[in-house]
Structures are given as C-alpha cells and as structure tokens.
C-alpha cells in the first residue's frame, strides 16, 4: 500500500508571529520556517507503517513556494521515498489544497492519506476533511492511534470528552493529533541521502484546479493586549484580591 503525506511549510512554532504594519498579514520575511508540527507526526506515522511492513511507499507532497521543497526534503530525510512539489505563489485556501490533493490521489492511488489535523499558521483544521469529502472516502480526524486489520482501519480519536474509536473502510483519510507518535529527527546520513531522492515539480494548472480565492482577507490586526497585572506576596493576599478586588470567588 502506498501512503500520501501532504506537508506544509509554516512559521516555526517557536517564533512569535508579528502582524505587518499595513495590516495585510503576518510578516514572514527573515522568519524561521519549518514543517507544520502535525505534518511531522503524519510523516512519522507513515514511516512507522512502512517499518511494520504495512506500507510499501511514502510520497510527500507540498504545495506552495519553491522553498516548500525544503519541507519535502525534511520529510524525505525522515524516511519518505519521493516528493511532489506543487509550485504556486497564490495564497491557497484549504478547499484549493484539497482539490489539488484529490487530483494527486487520482494519479498515485494511495490506500491512505495522512495529514496534520491543522496548520499552525491559518489554524483552519479543514484540509483532511475536505479531501475525504471530495474523494468520497471516510475520515479519521484527530487520530491518536491507528490499527489496520482485514481491510478496515480503526482510528482512535482525541475528542472533547476523551477518546473515541471508529472503524473506517479503506482507502481513507487520517488527520493526526499530538499523541499519535513522537516524530524522529533526521540523521545526518539520512539528510544526505534525501538529497538524492526524486522530487517532481508541478503546478495547480497541471491538475486543472482553479485557485481563485473564495475568501478575501480585509485586514489582519494584533489581538487586544491584556493589561499587565500585579504580583502578590503570598496565597492569603491572592485569595483576598480574588474575593475583594476581582470578585470572582
């Protein structure tokens, strides 16, 4: 079985984003960029399935600027086999991304697509669900455990009340949550080897996908800042202030 793993290049999770003065978005110039953390978990899960003998080939896909190739290289260094870079300058919405991925699925025929549950830049949490819808496949979102048996996929999901297990027909789409696994670091020899792994370059037009925006961003601003508070000397003062000043207990 082949697995497709889409990976997104996003602002590194340790960087505090800064809103641009002209309110058009967040400043990405000279900012450290990395693979979306949930996508790292997706790549790791695919590798573990390959190590277990369930999966034969892992294809990593990224959609975005030329630099997204670095994100694919990271996936290849971790253990993916080859890459597809869909180059575009356009700011895509999850719906567009899902349509491009659907076309790639039609070409590659994977048995499973594993994606991060959300990207930490736009926080949309949509692409996997949309891809599943467009393919007519079932979806296992927020996965913390996968088990494949008898052509069915059992997905244990992190839900608001705890954990939920569902059984899906295959092929299926899975999105990862934090506790699915702990992604490995790529070793230096594997980083060198990854440089020789093939990456195909494509464009949205190659897949016949119209990327006209449906959403217009009118402005991006900083959230209201909280006023700096006070330090209290001890627990007794804290309780006193919470009761007499804030009136919350």
């Amino acid at each position: 079985m082949k697995v497709l793993v889409p990976v997104k290049r996003v602002i590194d999770y340790n960087v505090k984003p800064r809103v641009k003065a002209d309110k058009t978005g967040v400043d990405l110039n000279n900012v450290k960029m990395s693979m979306n953390p949930f996508d790292e978990i997706a790549v790791e899960e695919a590798i573990r399935l390959k190590e277990a003998g369930t999966v034969s080939e892992i294809v990593a896909v990224s959609i975005g600027l030329q630099q997204a190739q670095e994100t694919i290289r990271t996936a290849l260094a971790m253990g993916a086999d080859r890459g597809i870079l869909v180059k575009t300058e356009a700011a895509l919405e999850p719906l567009h991304v899902a349509k491009i991925l659907k076309a790639i699925v039609a070409e590659e025929s994977p048995g499973l697509v594993i994606l991060g549950k959300q990207a930490i830049d736009d926080d949309c949490n949509q692409t996997g669900q949309m891809l599943a819808a467009l393919l007519g496949w079932p979806q296992g979102t927020y996965a913390s455990k996968l088990a494949i048996a008898d052509g069915k996929l059992d997905v244990t999901r992190e839900v608001d009340g705890g954990l939920q297990t569902i059984r899906l027909n295959m092929p299926a789409v899975v999105t990862t949550d934090l506790r699915l696994n702990e992604p490995r670091y790529a070793s230096l020899p594997n980083i060198m080897k990854a440089k020789k792994k093939p990456i195909d370059e494509k464009s949205p037009a190659d897949y016949g996908v119209d990327v006209t925006p449906r959403l217009t961003v009118l402005e991006v601003v900083e959230p209201a800042k909280r006023q700096a508070g006070v330090k209290v000397a001890d627990v007794a003062e804290l309780v006193h202030k919470l009761r007499e000043e804030a009136g919350v207990i």
Partner: protein, 315 residues
C-alpha cells in the same frame, strides 16, 4: 434566507455552546433554525425549541447520527443546505470534524472558529494561535462556519417557543462506523463551559501531584485543565489540554499552576476574564498575561490555597 445552527449535544442534553452559536447566527440573519441530529434526542429538540431567538427546530433522529460521525452528518447537512444562506456549528471536535466535509461537498470555503460577525458575509477569526485576528469576507453563496463559542454571549436557554419539525434525514453513506468511546468520568464541570478553571503544567512534575490541583478545583467548583506539556508527559488525559490545538476556554477565573505560558497555551486561555499564575520562575511568560501573579513553589502554594479557600465564608 434563514440560517441553520447545528445543535451541540450528547443526545441527552443540549450544550450551552449551542446558545452562543445561536447568537452568532442571529447576527447573520433574523431567522435562525436549529438542527438536532442524534439518536433518541427528543429532549434535546425540546430544549432547543426554548432557546430565545430560534424560529424552528429540525430533528433528524436516527441511530447513525448517535455519535455525529462526519460522513452521515455531512450527507444530512448537504440535503438541507439549499434552504440556508449559512450553516453554523460549534467549533468543538464534532463541528470541526463534519463541517469541512460539508463545505467541500458544497464546493465552498469554510470560515473556521469565528469570534465576531461583522456582517452576513464578513467575519473575524484568530490565526497564528490567536497572535493575529483576520477579518475575512466570503464570496461563496453558502457560508459554512464554525463558531468559537467563548466569544459570543449565550442566547437565553428559555423563553423561546419554536416549532419542532421531524425530518427524514439522509441514508448513512456506510463508510464509517462507531466502535467505542473511552470518555472521562464527569465529576467536575465541563472545561469549556466552567466558570472557573484550574490548570496544571509541566511544573506539576507528575500525574501523582494533580490531586493538589483537584483539591483546589473542588473547593472552587472549578474544571481542571492542563498544558500540552502535562498531557504529553502523561500526567493527565488529552481532554484536559487547553491551547491552540486543544480546548479554548474563557472562564471568569483561570488559574495557571506550574505553566510557563507558551504562546500555544496562551492561545487557549487568554480571553479569560481574570488570570492567576502560580509559578516559581518569576520570568515565566505566563506572568505577562496574568492579572495576579504569585511567584512561589506550587507544592507549598496549592495546599495553602486550599486552606485559605476553606476559611472563606460560604456563600
């Protein structure tokens, strides 16, 4: 055209988050309908009809809606969508699961996690873990929206008298089935709707120390949360996690204990009315958002806090 809100419920009880989504819906159009999809959910339909501002309640009662799995839910909503200009759901793990599936089936872009309705087509939503707020306008004929319910006032849960209409529902697409739930015992208030939340972080050092948090929480009638670090370390289960990718809470009082205050955690709690931080590291970023900061060893401070709370006159 009217607007449809998908009720958040567990087949027995209508969640108050639904009332917040109704408020968001009323800002889009004056005619708001509520869909109750579930199994043996008549009581929830009854409760929904009493929410102020709701004009009509639709009930799809069938076994395949019991767990709100994405495939049957999206199929049901697609069938209803032509009569509505917008469909809204609560941005919890149910709504976030089935709504994008609906959006893609309708070939529209979803607007996730809105915090404000500017007009019928323009909404505000947080991006970058709430470090930026984007105002977006949708050109799609149908708006598919998930609502961050902590930022909307809840419509009154009584006083309404909407008619209840039973609808046929749609066939189960047969792609997925429910196996089991492993849900936590609910002995404390629910995290996302609690008036007070007490959360523990890495500083708790072990799950064995969380009873110190529980003791304080129970004296306050509070829910218990945690930072990602505490969940990843196995101190507490995943459903405790507050943050960018966990639960978003905005209680009247949030007490962060042994939590350093990573931006991912702040994203989940910085809209709380009053924030208290207890941390032994005076430089911890959590103090920058705290109204009241106590620099102290939590292993001393928590038992003291429990004791001080005991001294308070009972209301």
């Amino acid at each position: 055209m009217p607007v449809l809100v998908v009720a958040d419920h567990d087949n027995a009880e209508l969640k108050t988050s639904t009332a917040a989504a109704v408020t968001a819906a009323l800002a889009i159009d004056a005619e708001v309908h509520v869909l109750v999809a579930g199994a043996s959910c008549g009581g929830v339909a009854e409760a929904s009809s009493q929410v102020a501002g709701v004009a009509k309640v639709l009930v799809a009662d069938a076994p395949h809606y019991a767990e709100m799995l994405a495939e049957p839910m999206a199929a049901l909503l697609v069938g209803l969508s032509d009569g509505y200009s917008a469909i809204l759901a609560v941005a919890n793990t149910d709504g976030k699961n089935f709504m994008p599936r609906l959006a893609a089936l309708k070939d529209v872009s979803q607007i996730s996690d809105i915090t404000e309705v500017k007009s019928a087509d323009t909404f505000v939503r947080p991006i970058y873990a709430g470090n930026a707020m984007a105002t977006v306008r949708s050109s799609d004929p149908l708006k598919v929206i998930t609502v961050r319910t902590t930022t909307f006032e809840k419509a009154a849960m009584s006083g309404g008298s909407a008619g209840i209409e039973t609808i046929a529902g749609a066939d189960d697409p047969g792609l997925s089935s429910f196996v089991e739930n492993a849900l936590s015992e609910q002995e404390r208030p629910e995290l996302t709707s609690a008036r007070i939340v007490v959360s523990g972080g890495r500083g708790m050092q072990s799950g064995d120390n969380f009873p110190l948090i529980y003791a304080v929480a129970d004296k306050l009638g509070a829910a218990v949360g945690a930072s990602r670090a505490a969940v990843d370390a196995g101190f507490v289960p995943n459903e405790f996690q507050v943050g960018q990718t966990g639960k978003v809470v905005a209680p009247e009082l949030y007490v962060a204990v042994g939590i350093s205050g990573a931006i991912q955690h702040l994203a989940g709690m910085k809209d709380s009315k009053v924030i208290v931080a207890i941390n032994k590291d005076a430089e911890a970023p959590i103090f920058q958002v705290a109204d009241y900061g106590l620099v102290a060893d939590l292993f001393k401070a928590l038992p003291e806090l429990a004791e001080e709370l005991d001294k308070l006159p009972k209301n």
